[in-house]
């Protein structure tokens, strides 16, 4: 196969680039080793749209954070994903010096962050009654926001797909070679489910592309170093989180950061767009780029550290914990653009915080550079909008009953914690880049994301996948590969 552009990685950055490129006449593909989009760093992070006061002025991080923040609201309307501008606070405790907050405000102003101001405790408590006793004041950033990272990533990918970008899932790139006019990529097509469990080897193929985009997250250094003379070094920096039930979702309404100090960078406490409460992250460099395990130390650190800014976080309401890996490049900035000594090879590397916020802006910049490179022309029939999965809970009872009359599946609750209907799950399966795994259904619909953590709905969701895709029960996985849910029939083992 020959493409104009091959993008490695279907995370939020790869998908944002794909979507921007799909505005042009071209043939493009996204190569993703996992069974779905949004499976790496993009799925396990703070889900924050940062205001942009944290990055050093003049860096990519500083520029694209502010631009990404500006783009996000409009994008959330075009692509129909949840976004809430809840504002953020960086709180200072009485043992810390005011200069820290002032420094942040100064950087923020230089970066072009609007509306920053320092708020004293008295006013602060009206905004956030659960702040810790030692909090004296805070830097308020009204443009701080929260987003659903799954829906942002999936929306970008779906829209790119609808505009003609091909997504090759379960496809791992193992080598990239520069040829005279283009690149040759060796890929492995990975088996899923029963075949993977039985030990079937992946099939090797190769594709060619004029331009390769490296959006490979923690592995972006590996791909860059295959072709570029300027080497990158990316360390996986683990962040652990705890997610609390919706009953705890109102504990704070803004995103509460801690002013970095001698206790470290601190952890945040934030509501999510879905009404849960999120506490995290830790920051530990790890050797293993697959090391997304949580640790006893990490989880206990979170409960201790969060108490510095927010009191009485009801940790009994934790429903799950998880860890993600940040792609930390040693020069501490995003690496964007054509790689040195590798014409046609474009990096979107070192994308750590504020990567989620910056993703739409990164997509724009890379797409422009690539369009210039390949002299691409804009499509006339680009479809700029995408409709998300219908959430019946947003409808009135009359509208809901009309919908159920037309499509009775919307009257059938599958996930009782989140009240997700069969209709939503059918939509998640049958739309472009539809879900093929339980995690895929979960990220798209929230079925299984509630307080029972899929105990009740997983057998039902499996039944729906089996019937609708259709697929064998043994091929139904949690998240691809060998992650099958059942291993045989009774007495069959």
């Amino acid at each position: 196969m020959m493409y104009d552009v091959a993008i490695i990685g279907a995370g939020v950055v790869g998908s944002a680039i794909a979507r921007e490129l799909s505005k042009y006449e071209l043939s493009a593909c996204v190569l993703e080793r996992e069974e779905d989009v949004c499976c790496g760093t993009s799925k396990a992070n703070s889900a924050i749209v940062h205001a942009g006061f944290d990055a050093t002025p003049g860096t990519w991080k500083a520029k694209l954070n502010v631009r990404g923040n500006e783009m996000m609201e409009q994008l959330s309307k075009e692509l129909d994903f949840p976004f809430v501008r809840n504002g953020s606070l960086v709180v200072r405790t009485k043992d810390q010096d005011i200069s820290g907050l002032e420094e942040l405000m100064k950087k923020g102003k230089e970066n072009g962050v609007p509306g920053l101001r320092i708020i004293e405790r008295k006013e602060l408590l009206k905004m956030e009654p659960n702040l810790a006793e030692d909090v004296v004041d805070a830097l308020y950033a009204p443009t701080g926001a929260i987003v659903c990272p799954f829906h942002l990533n999936i929306a970008l990918a779906e829209n790119a797909c609808e505009n003609g970008v091909e997504f090759l899932l379960n496809t791992e790139v193992t080598s990239i070679k520069k040829a005279a006019e283009d690149y040759e990529l060796t890929i492995l097509k990975k088996p899923v489910g029963a075949a993977a469990v039985a030990g079937k080897e992946p099939e090797q193929e190769s594709i060619r592309a004029k331009v390769v985009v490296n959006a490979a997250g923690v592995y972006a250094d590996v791909f860059n170093n295959m072709v570029s003379e300027e080497k990158l070094a990316i360390t996986a920096r683990k962040g652990e989180y705890m997610l609390l039930d919706k009953t705890a979702g109102n504990h704070v309404s803004h995103t509460i950061f801690q002013l970095p100090g001698k206790m470290g960078k601190g952890v945040l406490v934030t509501p999510t767009v879905h009404g849960n409460l999120l506490v995290g992250p830790t920051a530990i460099d790890v050797e293993d780029k697959e090391g997304i395990n949580t640790t006893a130390d990490g989880l206990s650190f979170l409960s201790e550290a969060s108490a510095r800014s927010v009191k009485n976080v009801p940790f009994r309401q934790v429903i799950t914990s998880f860890a993600g890996l940040r792609a930390h490049e040693e020069k501490n900035d995003f690496v964007l653009g054509e790689a040195k000594g590798a014409e046609g090879f474009f990096n979107a590397a070192g994308i750590e915080s504020p990567g989620l916020t910056s993703a739409p802006a990164i997509g724009q910049i890379l797409a422009e550079q690539i369009a210039n490179k390949l002299s691409l022309v804009k499509k006339e029939n680009f479809k700029a909008t995408r409709k998300g999965i219908l959430r019946p809970e947003t409808l009135s009872m009359e509208e809901r009953n009309r919908l159920i009359k037309e499509q009775p599946a919307y009257g059938n609750i599958i996930c009782r914690c989140e009240m997700i209907t069969e209709g939503e799950i059918l939509d998640a399966i049958h739309r472009p880049l539809g879900a093929r795994s339980l995690d895929g259904v979960k990220r798209r619909t929230r079925a299984g994301m509630g307080r029972c953590q899929s105990g009740f709905c997983s057998p039902r969701t499996m039944e729906i996948l089996e019937r609708e895709v259709p697929m064998s029960i043994y091929d139904i996985t949690k998240n691809g590969g060998k992650s099958s849910f059942v291993v045989g029939v009774n007495k069959g083992i």
């Binding site: 697959e290 934790v318 429903i319 009872m397 009257g411 105990g455």
Partner: protein, 420 residues
Amino acid sequence: MLKYDLVIVGGGPAGLAAAVSARDHGIESILIIERDKELGGILNQCIHNGFGLHTFKEELTGPEYAARFINQVMERKIEYKLNTMVMDISDEKVVTAMNREDGMFEIKAKAIILAMGCRERSRGALNIPGYRPAGIYSAGTAQRLVNMEGYMPGKRVVILGSGDIGLIMARRMTLEGAKVLVVAELMPYSGGLKRNIVQCLNDFDIPLKLSHTVVDIEGKERVSAVTIAQVGPNRKPIPGTEIRYECDTLLLSCGLLPENELSRSAGVELSPVTFGPVVNDSLETNIDGVFACGNVLHVHDLVDYVSQEAAVAGKNAADYIQNGKNTDAKAVEIIPEGGVRYTVPRYIRPTEMEDTVTVRFRVGEVYKNCQIVTYFDETPVLKRKRPVMAPGEMEQIILDKKKLQMFPMLSKITIKIEEA
């Protein structure tokens, strides 16, 4: 808006027994709302025997036990809706429900019985560190897969928690060909019934490791190993005691939580100990005409007790519908002390109560050769010797109306564990 005298939320053992009792006490207009495709609730996946020894004086399987009550509901032609989810209950006793055929609809009820049951505590709620691969199931999910769908969730199994479902599943998975390597229990005693430890673990040579917990889960796609470690008195793992088991499955049986999201949204007061509604002697919550019974009220060991409790709720709901409520009646609080964690009910109304009221509770740790002492104010009125009491086995005492009326100025009832 539809109108019923009595709406029962949940068609499991509690809902069924409550419906039968309410009908037998004269209520014609009853609707049971069940979210699953058949009546019977979680009993339908409990295909092991041991149900009904108290109620029917014979040993039944879960589905057989459920069938006895389903038949009674059918004989009485009590209305029910299957595959129907209750979405909301208001404090005005308007129930909003939904299904494929009727869409979303509202029912105005004179009385409501909450009988939604409970759910299992998940891995996330336990904060077990490690990877999040496939192969981690709550024992009940595995039970459904094996007993109702016929699928095996794994071949080599570690079980955390010695709750009854975990013990039952240790035997069940073994009988279906899996190897159960160990059952680890955080506490120094089992959370399950003694008979289940004997019949499900000992008889199959499955080791039970008390004071142990899971400290790591390995496997990036599917579980590949689970490490357990001994815990000290503070329940924290003791370094150096780790044992690693290569396995593909971790089952969790670490406690059940009453499912009270609907109750909460209706404004029902919940107990921080049981997570179930706070009720009086008629099993009525703080909202007039809203009653609760079964595992939504507090988690039971035996379904027989659920049925008994539900019959009481059904009778009292019938009485409420027919005769209203004496809102002036004095309520005396039962105070749990000295090892008694909670009581159901929490309030007794001496003028309104039945001739006898069963008070159920659990103790906080294992007690040997002790007695349960009931005080009316400072007077010990009831002593019951118990050779062994454990948190895994529910205890009860029976309060007698005549005796209570001998204490007209009674201000509190205290139940505590004392040395015999």
